[in-house]
Amino acid sequence: MSDATAGVTTHWRARPAHEFVSSQLGADYAVYHRPSGRTHFLNAAAADLLERVLLQPRTAAAAAAELAAGEGAPGSAEFVAVVAESLSRLEYLGLIERCEP
């Protein structure tokens, strides 16, 4: 889900850890979101955003750089766009939120 209001300076952070339970299932993750009672399936990168990268406020570019560094791969504009898309999706699911830097 793309969001035109999410600009390059928008900062994101994960919702408090007590709001969800995450379980690894092979390469994927099942996440139970306590406030909504819904279960979501995330790939490893989205789970990494939720559980590590977005423990502190990050822009899409900063989050993409951290993810890329974790993978030992260089980031790119295309990768930042993919991460921005993921952030909008995670926000829609209630797993992350916009915040002040």
Partner: protein, 308 residues
Amino acid sequence: MRVVGELGQAGFAERLRGQGLGVRLGPFDVKVRSGIAAIEAPLYGLYRDYPLLDDERTFSMHLQLTAARAFPRLDRATVRLLVDGRAPHEDLPRGQALAVLEWGINLVIALRAHSLLMLHSGAVERGGSVMLFPAWPGSGKTTLCAALVHRGWRLFSDEFGLVRPSTIEVLPIPRPMPLKNESIDVIRAFAPEAELGPAIPNTRKGTIAHVKVPAASIRASAHSAAVRWIVFPQWVAGASLRCEEMSKADAFLMLATNAFNYEMLGEAGFAAVHRLVTAAACYRLVYSDLAEAVRLLNEMAANDASGS
């Protein structure tokens, strides 16, 4: 504990028409009354091995079948199901009374048993381990269960995988298995020793005939067991036998989607499904030949037993 058969067929019919028949179906104590004479003999045949209950108890559900007439077509004989005195759905043709009772029991369990994770699943046991067959109607789970219980497996249920949420234990609720349409002759040919109730034509699911549960499965129905295999079956006409291991994520998604009450249980449901798919080996089974599928599942159980 006494069994229903000790009443004899006449005593059984008298209970149904009068005070009601108290019978234990796995974790549920059920009281049944019926004013439909035509179902007394087949119902006795299907239920004669179940534990008979006295009236000095609280029953999980009270079901009653009463004769009715269709309005305005008063020449059409119908049957009304009452659950705790109330009709949960419209009257149905009286010739389907036996199926109406069985559907009614399923309905009450699905609506009420929320202390358990309820999977829409067949479940059979061998060597102390349970194999689940989670599937939607038409996938062949009842046929598979009916076949396997005539090849040495114990029936837990052809319809419900009742899982205690904090464990991977399944509770047995062995009940008559409603074969549909072509499956009736398939099981007659596969297991000639199987006892079947009368064929009930023109139901919403076609023709139905119930397979009696082997007495050994009923006698053991107080004994739960842990899940070891989760097999998602799919009967496909003409398909070659295929059994592929599934990813845990796919199995989680399919199992959660398949449960009657996953969302209602909330986090307990999430934890229960996670526990099941991580503890069990998960497979997708496609088959068209019942004997081939049964052979494969028997081998799976035997190999696991020899490897453990």
